[in-house]
């Protein structure tokens, strides 16, 4: 890099040219679109989260505009264990997805590089599940892990599980489901990073007397870090808010509710819009904090 440029004689050059109006006009559709689809719902969400019940004319789902910050305190006090649980499940699912996806992506992106046909086939296998609705796939897991299903019977015959054990409805199944459903989102970004990995750098590493492990840690991992970061974000953020895997209709039960289930139930079943809105905002803020820390630690903010 030409760092010398800064130390040399300073040359005054013209300021960035004034942008023409055409550029602003071209920006307009995007700004309008964002305002309509992102800003307006966000404002409405904040306004809703501060509403109070209409006490003079009380009825289900009737709220009036107010500035009731107490809604936030109330939902945190009631649902904090579930909020914590959501982050725990989601973090575990992200870690498992990473542990499974990295070798997979490495295999496809590096090992199979000399066999383009096999590489393409392996990629298709990673993407293939998307051809079927993920609701159906999740329901299929539920059937496979049913109490009278094949997996439980097999594990019981090996005496790994006791006679009346079950898996559906346990935290294990919810984390399993989250991991399973988000593996492609983890594997594909890592694959795109590893696919570009210059193998000569690895050779250079061994020429410099680094053992394979240290080459992996010092060369391969840093070079694939952009993929790992986008993969973990693509997994962690939606997994925290996920309400399908943890719902009793799918792999969860009453003991495994996640914050997405709480939001959906307070909104649809209780018509308690302020609480649902307050929880959504809390979730959004709580996700932003670890993501910001993560990005600043991995120093990859220019990725986004």
């Amino acid at each position: 890099m030409a760092f010398g440029a800064f130390s040399g004689e300073t040359v005054v050059i013209e300021q960035p040219r004034r942008r023409s109006r055409a550029a602003l006009w071209l920006l307009l559709p995007g700004v309008v679109y964002l305002a309509a689809t992102y800003l307006a719902p966000l404002v409405s969400l904040v306004v809703t989260s501060l509403k109070t019940p209409d006490l003079t004319n009380f009825d289900i789902g009737r709220y009036q505009y107010a500035f009731e910050i107490g809604n936030y305190g109330h939902v945190i006090a009631t649902y904090w264990p579930i909020i914590l649980r959501s982050f725990g499940y989601s973090a575990l699912a992200t870690i498992f997805a990473l542990l499974i996806s990295y070798p997979l992506a490495y295999f496809i992106g590096v090992t199979l590089r000399t066999y383009p046909l096999w590489q393409a086939l392996a990629l298709i296998l990673v993407i293939a599940p998307f051809f079927m609705s993920f609701l159906l796939r999740t329901l299929a897991w539920k059937a496979i892990f049913a109490d009278e299903g094949p997996v439980i019977h097999f594990l019981q015959s090996l005496n790994i599980l006791p006679a009346n054990a079950h898996l559906n409805g346990t935290p294990f199944m919810v984390i399993f489901g989250l991991t399973y459903n988000f593996i492609p989102f983890m594997a594909l970004p890592i694959y795109t990073s590893l696919e570009r990995l210059d193998l000569r750098l690895l050779e250079a590493g061994s020429d410099l007397y680094a053992n394979p492990g240290s080459t992996f840690l010092r060369v391969t991992v840093p070079l694939s870090l952009p993929g790992v970061v986008s993969g973990t974000l693509l997994t962690f953020i939606p997994a925290t808010g996920d309400y399908v895997n943890a719902s009793p209709q799918f792999l969860g039960s009453t003991q495994t509710a996640m914050v997405g289930n709480v939001i959906s139930d307070t909104y649809f079943n209780l018509q308690d819009y302020p609480s649902a809105a307050a929880l959504s905002i809390i979730l959004m803020v709580l996700i932003l904090i670890p993501v910001a820390i993560y990005l600043s630690v991995t120093k990859t903010e220019d990725l986004l």
């Binding site: 030409a2 005054v12 009380f58 109490d147 409805g169 209780l270």
Partner: protein
């Protein structure tokens, strides 16, 4: 003083780009703040609280209507998916019925249509069948149209017990479609001796983690309250409600009750994840029919709950007279018997039992479809809650369901 830019062309262009981006970001923020203020102001504008006006009826010129109902609630020909009683109605009246299985759950259906209802707009259904407590809410909010009884002469066949219901005296806004019991069911291969109460099921060690209960609060909490000798059709106290809820909470926390679900509990009965459940009467018959005769339904000794799903005409519906013609058709005892033979729920139509006897004498003797006095004595209707009670009870119930 303008700061000099670095000489290196690559870095210079990067710096220039970064400055531009900064400017844009500042502009965007300003724009965003302005937009947010405008939206907040718009949001604070008072909403008009006008009384809703029913839509004008175009039935006489537009011979069709849309009926939103629950799944498995209409006679259906295996294979073709045709509904014989509806087809014969269309042949007789010339009114085309678009029958949709749109209602999966009272609350979620309400959440879907409530905004149009509040504006008095068409919700895409000329009649919809919902459960008592939800119908009561629609009537309270003025979301229904008044029925013209002169267009429904068969209303004379309505079971007199259902005429003067507390939320709609004289049935001016609603009309029962089918009713049913909530009770208990179990896998009879595993438990040939069966059960007579919810608590007996909860105590059975072999059922730990294999029991499911309904997410319909009035049914699940209702059954436990009945077992506590509480009259759910009268004015019970908050403490009595919360005592019953505590029983459920304890069994959920201990893992005795595996899950709390809507209609999808039948899937878990079939898969074997659940061996016993608090459930609805008609579902057991239907599940037995399609998955081998494995389950038994019973009303607990302490009593079961009784509910009705009711027709109503949404405020924005444009085919009121056509919808009334459909209601009239299904209040013909012969037609009601044909439907009952398929759906296995309680028909509100007097005379359907006699009509059913001519189709199938065994059917007419089924106490869950044509309940006798003894069965009806064991069934109780959960009394209509005030909005404040409903909000507080359902919040408490919901937090038990979420394990919070």
């Amino acid at each position: 003083m303008p700061r000099s830019l670095p000489e290196d062309p690559l870095i210079r262009s990067l710096v220039v780009q970064a400055r531009r981006a900064q400017l844009t970001r500042r502009g965007m923020l300003a724009g965003a703040t302005a937009a947010a203020t405008a939206l907040a102001l718009a949001a604070c504008a008072p909403a008009g609280a006008n009384k809703l006006k029913p839509a004008s009826d175009v039935s006489s010129t537009d011979k069709k209507m849309i009926w939103a109902n629950w799944p498995l609630y209409m006679d259906t020909t295996e294979g073709t998916g045709a509904h014989p009683t509806l087809d014969s109605f269309t042949t007789k009246s010339g009114i085309k019925v678009d029958y949709r299985e749109d209602v999966d759950d009272n609350s979620s259906y309400y959440a879907k249509v409530k905004d149009q209802l509040a504006l008095g707009k068409d919700i895409g259904a000329d009649t919809v069948c919902l459960t008592d407590w939800m119908v009561s809410r629609w009537i309270r909010f003025g979301y229904t149209q008044t029925l013209d009884h002169s267009k429904i002469p068969n209303i004379k066949n309505l079971n007199p017990n259902l005429l003067n219901i507390d939320y709609d005296k004289g049935r001016k806004q609603s009309l029962p479609w089918q009713g049913g019991f909530a009770g208990i069911c179990w896998n009879k291969q595993e438990f040939p001796n069966g059960f007579t109460s919810v608590s007996e099921m909860l105590k059975e060690p072999k059922l730990k983690g294999r029991i499911e209960v309904l997410s319909e609060m009035r049914d699940t909490v209702g059954l436990v309250m009945l077992e506590n000798n509480v009259d759910i059709s009268g004015n019970f106290t908050d403490a009595q409600f919360h005592n019953a809820l505590a029983v459920l909470k304890k069994n959920i926390d201990d893992g005795v009750i595996r899950s709390v679900k809507g209609n999808s509990y039948t899937e878990d009965l079939v898969s074997g994840d659940a061996l016993a459940a608090i459930c609805w009467s008609g579902d057991v018959t239907a599940t037995n029919a399609s998955n081998g005769d494995k389950w038994t339904f019973a009303i607990p000794d302490a009593g079961g709950t009784l509910w009705n799903d009711n027709f109503l005409i949404p405020i924005g519906a444009k085919h009121k007279a056509n919808a009334e013609a459909v209601m009239n058709w299904y209040y013909d005892p012969q037609i009601a018997a044909e439907v009952a033979a398929y759906v296995n729920y309680i028909t509100p139509v007097v005379g359907a039992k006699e009509a059913a006897a001519s189709i199938d004498p065994v059917l007419a003797e089924n106490n869950l479809i044509f309940p006798d006095e003894a069965t009806l004595k064991k069934a109780h209707v959960f009394h209509t809650l005030t909005p404040a009670q409903e909000q507080s009870y359902s919040s408490a119930f919901q937090s038990v369901l979420l394990g919070a």
